[in-house]
């Protein structure tokens, strides 16, 4: 279990720094103490094993303590993207029915707006160093809907009196975490990951990256996604350190920090590297301590990959592939193979078996296309409250990823296409149906199709094609404003076009891959 590794390191290396953020450093010993304070607080609040507790925090030492503290109390940590709108928070609250929410004061208003009548939430803990009574963040949004909720501050958690309390025995098979991903219907699906899933995947990653207690990663990826979670779990198990920068707005600042903190590792998605190459001073830096870079979350352009390897000749580059349903990682490409096979996602990570299965159910031969199907201790328990959705992707203990690939004679895998329509924009994965549902709320809209449009920096940006009802008019800006009110900023369509009809198959299904070509110059924006 993660807290076991944390407490072991805290026992033997109490003053070793686990996390650095700005000028603040927090040691293993300090995080371990906070974890116990949070666990004790929740147990005294009556949290029972399996209770869901939502975490709405940016990357921070408090996030780490909360995440592991929930585990220690026997609860399930549900980390939620803090940028979500009340509409999006409500979907998640109504799905996983959390008993408590831990929220940064910056995001309290959206969380309070999301709470429905008869909510499951009994307690909201606000990460603000003041009494709740004097907290403007809390007071500003509390209404009669919140009358059954108890509000607490960090001080209440820290000041929980010591008492004899029985901590639950955590089982390897217990669900430790739920990570929401874009569902096929537009509703988010909660991926349930057990303690075992988290530990097995982390140990496997540690093995191929050869992480040790000397490692120090630059953490710019949000912990609430599986890639970010894996940075956290691997470095705690290995006894390493994490340097946090919550924004990639100013990449030169991140590079300065990487140099100043002598980081040994850097993890990014394709857009991270596109921004570094196109809008930073990376060519003027040298990083003598940097020994590796990892890239996942979609295919990086071979040109960018080559440039990065030339700019950072001392760093090994690991190309990786995975899914949240596999905790994080399924395959990786060894750095020595990267220069010869930049198109490849490599081979299965230790402890994972991968087969390519053809549509007829037989195993694909070398060079034949098949669906990536994975087996291993990292494969999720299932989707929260969605047995039918679970059965579609988990069969005989194997995960059907929906991604198509071929394997060459030496066993290297290459992704051919992804079956799902998910839009990968920056570090985010976005379901176009979720945006379509919001746009359809506008009374002028007859039909809408949303798809990803290629973008040099983000990988994809969102494009919406709209068919209006007869005689109706609509401004693209109004569509964007409506989306802005309902959705997180990264889900906003950058381009809105109005068309006479949408491209469809004979059975009426929208052909999303043709959306890119639609409506150029017709009432488009952005």
């Amino acid at each position: 279990m993660l807290f076991k590794y944390l407490s072991d390191w805290a026992d033997t290396h109490t003053d070793k720094i686990l996390v650095t953020q700005g000028s603040r450093t927090v040691t293993y010993g300090e995080v371990a103490r906070s974890v116990m304070q949070i666990a004790t607080f929740f147990l005294k609040q009556g949290v029972r094993p399996g209770d869901r507790i939502c975490i709405v925090l940016d990357n921070s030492p408090e996030y780490i303590s909360s995440y592991i503290g929930v585990h220690r109390a026997g609860g399930i940590a549900v980390a939620v993207c803090p940028q979500y709108s009340p509409f999006e928070f409500r979907k998640i609250f109504n799905d996983c029915l959390p008993s408590a929410v831990i929220v940064d004061k910056k995001y309290v208003k959206h969380v309070l707006d999301a709470v429905s009548e008869g909510t499951s939430i009994q307690a909201i803990i606000i990460m603000e160093d003041s009494d709740v009574q004097s907290s403007s963040a809390a007071r500003s949004g509390i209404t009669s809907r919140h009358s059954n909720i108890r509000f607490y501050s960090v001080r209440d958690v820290i000041n929980t009196p010591d008492c004899k309390i029985e901590y639950p025995v955590c089982n390897e098979k217990d669900v430790a975490s739920i990570i929401y991903t874009s569902g096929t219907t537009g509703e988010p699906k909660g991926v349930m990951l057990s303690n075992e899933n988290l530990m097995i995947n982390a140990r496997s990653i540690i093995e191929y990256l050869q992480l040790t207690e000397k490692d120090r990663i630059m953490g710019i990826l949000p912990f609430y996604y599986s890639y970010g979670t894996s940075l956290l779990t691997t470095h705690i198990i290995a006894g390493g350190s994490i340097v946090l920068e919550n924004s990639f707005m100013y990449p030169n600042q991140v590079l300065d920090r990487m140099f100043a903190e002598s980081v040994t590792g850097f993890a990014g998605v394709p857009s991270t590297f596109a921004i570094l190459l196109n809008r930073s001073n990376i060519r003027k830096y040298t990083f003598p301590s940097l020994r590796y870079i990892t890239q996942a979350g979609g295919a990086m352009s071979p040109l960018h990959a080559k440039e990065i390897s030339e700019i950072l000749p001392g760093a090994d580059i690991f190309i990786m592939y995975g899914q949240t349903e596999a905790t994080a990682r399924l395959t990786y490409l060894e750095p020595r193979d990267f220069h010869y096979r930049p198109w490849s996602i490599g081979k299965a990570i230790p402890g994972v078996d991968i087969e390519l299965i053809k549509e007829d159910g037989t195993i694909a031969k070398t060079g034949e296309v098949g669906e990536i199907v994975a087996r291993g201790g990292n494969i999720m328990v299932g989707y929260w409250n969605r047995p039918e959705e679970t059965d579609k992707v988990l069969k005989d203990g194997r995960l059907y990823t929906g991604d198509l690939a071929v394997r060459d004679e030496e066993g290297f895998l290459k992704i051919i296409s992804r079956r799902s329509d998910i839009i990968k924009s920056g570090a985010h994965r976005i379901n176009p149906r979720e945006i379509e549902e919001v746009i359809l709320e506008l009374p002028e809209v007859h039909e809408v199709a949303v798809a990803g449009k290629d973008d040099a920096i983000l990988g994809m940006v969102i494009k919406a094609c709209i068919v209006l009802k007869d005689g109706q008019g609509l401004d693209a800006r109004k569509v964007q404003r409506h989306c802005h009110n309902k959705l997180a900023p990264f889900k906003l369509p950058k381009e809105v076009v109005f068309v006479d009809e949408l491209p469809k198959t004979g059975t009426g299904k929208i052909r999303r891959h043709l959306i890119n070509d639609l409506g150029a110059g017709i009432g488009s924006t952005g």
């Binding site: 100013y250 800006r477 964007q480």
Partner: protein, 87 residues
């Protein structure tokens, strides 16, 4: 300077915050601290100021001191325009 600030504020309100309320953004608000702009939004702002004010923003100039508020942006643009006119 005041006209530059008004132009910048209008762009951010219309294209990033999608907000008609003039009070939604103060000239001194930190884009980073207030979560107004993310890493891609800042690139949009840079593209905008390059086109609108006919300046070229160098990679090393992408720092908060130049970009992290309407005031900082306006000062930065003003100094760039001044430097350009002296060349």
């Amino acid at each position: 300077m005041e006209q530059i600030k008004k132009t910048l504020k209008k762009f951010i309100l219309e294209n990033i915050l999608f907000d008609d309320n003039d009070n939604a953004l103060d000239y001194d608000d930190s884009f980073l601290e207030k979560g107004i702009i993310d890493s891609t939004g800042v690139l949009e702002v840079v593209n905008f100021i390059e086109e609108e004010f006919e300046i070229s923003v160098e990679d090393e100039e992408l720092v908060p001191e130049n970009l992290d508020s309407v005031n900082n942006l306006a000062r930065f643009i003003h100094s760039k325009k001044g430097n350009t006119s002296q060349v």
